[in-house]
């Protein structure tokens, strides 16, 4: 016979004000199987937990129901309390009479009746609960980091410094990401490359880091602790093992004269067909851009092969696939900027001198196409008046991007300031809606740009830009003075919105992680689990989760790394035992469950007789992968799958308890 104890929590007045907790206690005391029923002000408090533990001992309870808040809050608290006195934790359940009852109702009588019913339902379930034991999985103590921007670099270094192997995959020819493109960084004006390149070099030199550049994650199989990752190494056409990075090939490449727009300089500069994105590239091994290479397009040339002193050029190189086994994955795929072509009224694409924030970074950068001079892309003349427009695409519901891109306020202030440093008699105008400068030293930085560097801030959105006599006429409004404003600019910089990097859908599918409506990967909990995804063992870092600046990306990367180190530090991983199990006797092998499983947890298992003859093939659930969602249970036609802790029997008992 079950001996259930019921503990009804007041939660101060959170529950007690709307629910007559004493009546709930009394009614439950009468319920069949309940041998002990009580109420308490805060059951989650130490004395409250002691109440449960004492009752388990005194009344020899076989199950515990705590009628209180959501199990998301305190299930672990109560289960641990039960376990400490020898009751299997999975025999303890919570009836949610707060979020599901007292908080959402006003009528005390009705709320009390509902609370009684919710608690009864849970008693009926607990009566049928079985003892469950956590699943332990061994862990491959190696990590995969996807994306070699500052977030990925930081995460890789932190894990590697912790003593574990890291595989870092970057799809561009060099690591560095967007940070490598920046001239200086706010609010301290450190030279971006100067603080980034030492970390890039560290990555290359680190014994524990295996670096794959010009490579993409092709496929991910497995589960936390045991992922199997296939990586496609794109054909570089240059042998990494031979190349010394002398750069002769790049100097001699005839395509240099044709001027292929440099991706790194965002089209403001050119590069040859065999190239490294920038001089400090890691690895310092060029790639051949086969779309523009004369040999690949016209079948003749081979100049680079002739000049290469170490014979590192290999035109025959093919994409190569390698498999790496890892125990945890950090996604740090970063961001892109939206295309300004969304804004016809700003003339982007038509006017050469209307550029985006990253392009302006390249103009400011000493290693940029203009050597750090702010020259107009159209005629190469020095710009005297620069207009910056904030929130281009951000906070624009009509364009489908209602979110704030977060970094623009700061980088515009930086741009205005640096422009003043480069062109002393220059004037900068900033059209903005709000200045969002929350961060250490951030607001002070913006004020510095305004008060000391004379940036003229105008509060309002620009309605239109047009060209007149070689100048860009910017029409906006200053809502502070109520004046309509026109500025004649040499360059207009659009602070275009941040969006996730290309290919996020595909990667999300491979990793089985969710993303929001804009494509930013979703964290498991917005406040309490900000670096984890809902897929165990996969973590997030940097702007792939939401717009972020460098300090935030680095902080999140280190947080994700510490999560990974936490997994690697434990001897084994403990997983919830509430997973699906297949009844192999009744399973007919239709594999509907396999089709519906969002976690690829269903595997095929051969059943053989003693002589080894195949009898049938049935489904089998991989306990490492199963997240206990129950989709397979619903899909199974002959009830051969059940969810531990949520069996059909338990659910039906709960349903019939409602009818009482």
């Amino acid at each position: 016979m079950p001996r259930i104890g019921v503990f009804v929590c007041h939660c101060g007045v959170n529950i007690a004000a709307t629910v007559d907790v004493e009546r709930v206690k009394d009614e439950l005391a009468k319920h069949p199987g309940v041998v002990y029923s009580t109420d308490y002000r805060y059951v989650c408090s130490d004395p409250g937990q002691k109440l449960i533990q004492d009752a388990i001992r005194e009344h020899n309870l076989t199950g515990v129901v705590v009628a209180a808040c959501s199990p998301c809050m305190h299930e672990a608290t109560f289960r641990t309390a039960c376990a400490s006195v020898g009751l299997n934790p999975y025999l303890c359940e919570m009836a949610n009479i707060r979020e599901h009852c007292s908080w959402v109702h006003q009528d005390k009588e009705a709320a009390t009746r509902k609370a009684i019913e919710l608690t009864r339902i849970m008693v009926e379930k607990v009566k049928r609960n079985q003892e469950l034991y956590p699943i332990y999985i061994d862990v491959t103590k190696r990590a995969l980091v996807i994306g070699g921007g500052i977030a990925g670099i930081q995460a890789a270094l932190d894990i590697a410094d912790g003593g574990y192997d890291v595989v870092l995959v970057e799809r561009e020819p060099s690591i560095g990401g967007h940070m490598a493109q920046l001239s200086e960084t706010f609010p301290t004006l450190d030279c971006s490359q100067c603080i980034l390149t030492p970390k890039m070099v560290q990555v290359r030199q680190h014994q524990k880091i295996k670096l794959y550049t010009y490579s993409v994650v092709e496929d991910v199989r497995g589960y936390i602790g045991n992922f199997e990752v296939t990586i496609r190494k794109k054909a570089r056409s240059v042998r990494e093992d031979l190349c010394t990075g002398c750069g002769l090939c790049m100097q001699r490449c005839p395509a240099r004269r044709d001027g292929i727009p440099s991706e790194f300089d965002r089209g403001l500069g050119t590069r040859p067909a065999i190239y490294t994105p920038f001089p400090q590239a890691v690895p310092n091994v060029p790639v051949i851009d086969r779309e523009h290479c004369r040999y690949f397009t016209e079948g003749k040339c081979r100049v680079c092969e002739r000049v290469c002193p170490v014979k590192a050029i290999d035109y025959e190189q093919q994409d190569e696939f390698v498999t790496e086994r890892v125990g945890a994955i950090i996604v740090a795929t970063g961001y892109e900027l939206i295309s300004p072509s969304l804004y016809g009224e700003y003339g982007s694409g038509r006017f050469k001198d209307v550029i985006d924030g990253l392009q302006f970074e390249r103009l400011l950068s000493a290693s940029g196409p203009t050597g750090g001079k702010v020259l107009r892309p159209s005629d190469g003349k020095e710009a005297k008046v620069v207009v910056f427009i904030a929130c281009v695409g951000s906070r624009d519901r009509a364009k489908g991007i209602p979110y704030c891109s977060k970094i623009c306020c700061m980088y515009i202030a930086k741009h205005a300031l640096l422009f003043k440093h480069r062109v002393h008699d220059g004037e900068s105008y900033v059209f903005y809606m709000d200045i969002r400068a929350g961060g250490k030293g951030y607001d002070e930085f913006v004020r510095r740009a305004i008060e000391e560097e004379g940036a003229c801030y105008i509060r309002g959105r620009v309605s239109r830009i047009y060209e007149s006599n070689g100048k860009l006429i910017v029409k906006g409004m200053d809502t502070l003075s109520g004046k309509l404003i026109e500025v004649e600019a040499d360059i207009v910089v659009l602070a275009t919105a941040m969006r996730p990097s290309d290919g996020f859908e595909e990667l999300a599918r491979k990793l089985r992680i969710p993303y929001d409506e804009y494509g930013f990967f979703s964290e498991a909990h917005p406040k309490l689990r900000p670096v984890e995804t809902t897929t165990a063992g996969v973590f997030l870092a940097g702007a792939c989760q939401a717009p972020k600046d460098i300090p935030e990306s680095v902080a999140q990367a280190s947080a994700a790394a510490s999560k990974v180190l936490g997994i690697f530090g434990a001897p084994r991983i403990e997983r919830e035992p509430t997973i699906a199990v297949v009844n192999e006797t009744t399973c007919t092998g239709c594999f509907d469950c396999e089709r519906v499983c969002p976690y690829n947890a269903v595997e095929r298992k051969e059943i053989r007789d003693r002589r080894g003859n195949l009898i049938k093939v049935v489904s089998s659930v991989n306990p490492g992968l199963c997240e206990g969602c129950g989709a397979c249970v619903a899909a199974c036609r002959n009830k051969s799958v059940d969810l531990r802790g949520f069996s059909d029997e338990q659910i039906f008992a709960q349903l019939s308890a409602i009818a009482i």
Partner: protein
């Protein structure tokens, strides 16, 4: 709606700079919170509230600022200065603007106020202390309405609230020399700025 302000042409940076220099205040520090305006006891009578005056100075829109009645309505009570979170002494800026408006001949918006102030100053300069009957009469004559408030004046007389004769003060000579010195300083300052304007516009 106002006319379009072509900032690249119309923004007089030297005006902003002049106000900043002569007032000793960093107008660029104003971040337009509006606390000065919302606490200003005279704002109801101003055509442009104090915060907006600061904004117009930032944008270098000289005419708008100097033509406004705000600078004359300001009672110099210093409430704005006391409360400004960015440490801008707004009342002091108003002083500067009044001087600049007088120099530039922008006195139309509040002729009475301007006249009253000038007569007041002139009275003190001459006598060392205000002689009210004379001040009232001179102001009335200057404004072309000699008998305004005449009845009230008589009542005040009757109750001994207005003196019959001006009071003499000690050290009138010294006071005059101070006055001369200040005037000279102002003149030099004013001319310097007028010259600066001319060179920049030629």
């Amino acid at each position: 709606m106002s006319d379009v302000v072509k900032l690249t042409d119309m923004r007089l940076k030297e005006f902003t700079a002049e106000v900043e220099r002569r007032s000793g205040q960093r107008i660029s520090q104003c971040y337009q919170c509006g606390k000065c305006s919302s606490g200003c006891p005279m704002a109801f009578a101003m055509d442009i509230d104090p915060a907006r005056i600061m904004r117009l100075i930032q944008l270098g829109l000289r005419d708008d600022v100097l033509k406004s009645n705000t600078i004359w309505i300001c009672a110099a009570c210093q409430t704005c200065t006391t409360r400004c979170p960015q440490e801008v002494e707004i009342a002091h800026v108003m002083d500067t603007l009044r001087i600049m408006a007088l120099e530039a001949g922008y006195t139309d918006s509040e002729r009475e106020t301007v006249e009253a102030l000038s007569q007041f100053v002139e009275n003190i300069e001459r006598r060392g202390r205000v002689f009210e009957p004379e001040l009232a009469l001179r102001l009335n004559i200057a404004l072309g309405r000699p008998f305004k408030d005449f009845g009230r004046g008589l009542q005040l007389f009757a109750r001994g609230k207005l003196p019959m004769l001006p009071e003499k003060i000690k050290g009138l000579k010294e006071l005059r020399s101070i006055w001369e010195k200040v005037k000279k300083l102002e003149r030099v300052e004013g001319e310097r700025h007028v010259n600066a304007h001319e060179t920049q516009h030629s």
